[in-house]
């Protein structure tokens, strides 16, 4: 029976090629634009570290002195060095890392200075974020405590400085100081770079990783947001009234997360008792996806584009409904003959829906081509996320599901109207 309806649909679609082409074009345009923007949304709102995103928590708190505290303000992103060091010392999480972005000038073998992005953190960073190493190893907690002059460098910097050879044990010249390279990263790109969103949310990993204690000793420049209250010399001093360190904790079970939150609350209460402030303090403990959501990593323009494209798809569907209606009603006499020969309303309905579905499938194929072009266009946009946009198998399947379901939806009303035609009048009117 389906085969017969399929043949009927083919005949009908062939009969009026222009109308068929218009319908296919409309659906293809709607599907193409929607799938392009949905792909961008899908990539940007994706989980950068799916295996651990529920166990990694960004720790934020507001322990400002009273004159810098405003109730209702957002909890600041970063911690003071004093609080970060206190939390690191307590080490209540399964793992924890305090960190800051930085930049430094390193010397190439030819003696040319080279500016590189850096991250100053502690030993737990590497196991916490599943950082792969190609050569050597990361530093240990002992290196953190011993302010060891060691560095882990990225694969691309290793390529640039040492031609990709195993550079473990070699020296990395930072101005007139030197660090011993103990590890080289494998391929590691976190997009979005969720562990620190303040220095560009998309982009490759940093090129040099140095223990935070060492970086402070060497007075390496930091980058990112530093927010101080009160004028007080060096913002990186142990007790400076400045927030500049990002803090992450790994908490393997939900129970541990609850206990850790309680621990942070106690910490804030202790600070209040010690006289740092009189307000009750604020606390935020968010896992990776909550954190990305709170920071609005998906640009509002991308959201707007998605809604715009879905609205466009809606208008295309209204258009398709109109065109299908015209097509089915024009064949009133044919449908009337079929009804007169004994076809049930249900079979007319089915026949019309199959025709709509076929238009949808062909529209979906062309829509996929348009979406491919759209993604290509997005990749050539000068946005910082452009290079990471790609279409995966799920979006490919989604394209066809969307095309088929929307064309069937568009076919419902015309098919229902066609089924309602009274056979006698339909035959007579012609």
């Amino acid at each position: 029976m389906f085969g017969y309806y399929f043949n009927l649909a083919m005949l009908s679609l062939k009969r009026n090629k222009v109308l068929t082409a218009l319908m296919v074009l409309t659906i293809a345009l709607g599907i193409g634009t929607s799938m392009t923007t949905l792909t961008v949304m899908h990539v940007l709102s994706g989980d950068p570290i799916p295996q651990k995103s529920a166990q990694l928590f960004r720790v934020r708190m507001n322990v400002f002195p009273d004159d810098a505290f405003k109730r209702g303000d957002r909890v600041p992103d970063n911690l003071t060095r004093r609080d970060a060091e206190a939390l690191l010392h307590d080490a209540r999480g399964d793992r924890q890392a305090a960190m800051s972005a930085g930049s430094m000038v390193v010397m190439s073998a030819q003696g040319d200075p080279l500016n590189v992005e850096a991250r100053y953190t502690n030993a737990d960073f590497f196991p916490m974020f599943d950082v792969p190493l190609r050569y050597g190893h990361a530093w240990s907690r002992g290196d953190d405590a011993g302010h060891a002059h060691v560095a882990v460098i990225s694969g691309s910097l290793n390529e640039q400085l040492f031609g990709g050879a195993d550079s473990v044990g070699k020296a990395l010249l930072v101005g007139d100081q030197s660090l011993r390279i103990i590890g080289v990263l494998g391929d590691w790109d976190m997009n979005p770079r969720f562990y620190d969103l303040s220095n560009g949310q998309f982009g490759d990993s940093e090129d040099v990783f140095v223990p935070l204690s060492t970086a402070l000793d060497m007075k390496l420049p930091t980058s990112g947001q530093t927010w101080c209250w009160g004028n007080n010399g060096n913002a990186h001093d142990a007790n400076a009234p400045c927030i500049w360190l990002q803090y992450w904790a790994q908490l393997d079970t939900p129970a541990k997360a609850v206990a850790y939150r309680q621990y942070l609350q106690n910490y804030i209460a202790l600070q209040q008792k010690a006289g740092r402030f009189t307000h009750s303090g604020q606390l935020e403990l968010q896992d990776v996806m909550q954190w990305l959501d709170a920071k609005g990593v998906v640009p509002s323009d991308v959201r707007l584009q998605m809604w715009l494209a879905l609205g466009f798809l809606g208008i295309c569907l209204i258009n398709t409904v109109g065109l299908l209606l015209a097509k089915f009603l024009r064949r009133g006499s044919e449908l009337g003959v079929r009804r007169a020969l004994g076809a049930s309303r249900r079979s007319i309905f089915l026949q019309c829906l199959i025709e709509a579905g076929m238009v949808g499938m062909v529209g979906g194929v062309f829509g996929l081509v348009l979406a491919g072009l759209g993604v290509l266009l997005v990749r050539h946009q000068p946005t910082d996320y452009a290079a990471y946009i790609h279409m995966d198998l799920r979006m490919l399947l989604a394209t066809f599901v969307l095309a088929l379901s929307s064309s069937l939806l568009a076919g419902l009303l015309p098919a229902w109207r066609a089924m309602q035609l009274s056979p006698a009048i339909a035959i007579k009117s012609n």
């Binding site: 109308l19 007075k219 466009f312 208008i315 946005t383």
Partner: protein, 407 residues
Amino acid sequence: MHFRHILSALGRHRIAVCLLVLEIAFSCAVVCNALFLIGTRLERMQRPTGVDERHIGQVHVRSVSATSPEAIMAQTRTDLAALRALPNVVNASIVNQTLFGHSFSASGVSLSDAPQAPTIHVTQYFGNAQLPDTLGLKLAGGRWFKLDEFVSDEQLEGEGATVPVIITRALAEHFFPGRSAVGKVIYAFGTNRIVGVVDRLVQPRDYGTAESYEYAMLFPVDLPYAQGTYLLRVKESEQRGEVIRSALHALKTDGPLRLVSPKDATTLEAARAKYYRNDRAMAWMLVGVCLLLLIVTAVGIVGLTSFWVAQRRRQIGIRRAIGATRGDILRYFQTENFLIATFGIALGMALAYGLNLLLMLHYELGHLPAWYFPVGAVTLWAISQIAVLGPALRASNVPPVVATRSV
């Protein structure tokens, strides 16, 4: 024309007419709002900075090895003299943050030194005595800094500092509405007396509310090169590339080993274009969607009108046989389409207003200005009349003899 006849004929195709009206209405709503969004983007991209953008280049130099602050300051003075001596350079200066750059420096500012006084965050430019001339800033009141007022940044941030400040007209208007700000005192770094007001200078990047984009302060600070960026003002704008190349060369050959890279050098116009690239991309995307939307709407009109023409072939033949001219038939379909478009546009206006309210809830966006409504209306009328022309002409070509034929 016989509106009544047309209306009653339309009544026989209620569903199809409703679909067309809906399609035109949604298109109208989306096109009005998309045009408005394009307009706001273009307006944003054209905001002036108050700086002579066409004549400015900038070079950032990084120090490689630690040297004494005195040596760095001395090198900075040497560099600036060398830059000023370059051909086609009018002036050179150093500044802590560049327009459209990545760094953003700001302080809490209040009108009182009481700890609980309300503060706003205002961006701050530190620079030497040549900065106003290099940027091409215009004084609106008061005076520029005197040479003996320049301090180091440690002195600026030291306890009990009393460094003078120059603020923008917008900030002056915010703090002292309707009064002259010159001679008044604000509290940013200790106590700062306002000695001058510049016509316009903006934040390096958008930060905070839309009004605060035009709030800025200038402090007389002599910066070492490691904490700032060199600015160059050229005589003719087409010399910028050449001047930047010779500046890079001069800085590289002179002084200790430093990181001087073309990657850290740009013209202000290039920096502006880069800063607004997302807005430009968005504006083009909106233009694209508007065009597609109008095409799809036109396709819908062509499709349904063709269907009606085919369906009414016989009636058209009868009308022609009893005396209607081709023009009458043509005008019939045009009027019919005009009526449908008008219904659609009327509904579309209401939808456009609603959509604007919805967008205002989620995005920082103003009310849709009234003149977008007639623009949207005329666009859709025009599109629908163009779309209907083909099928209507075909209808007008139906020969009267059709009336006599039975199918």
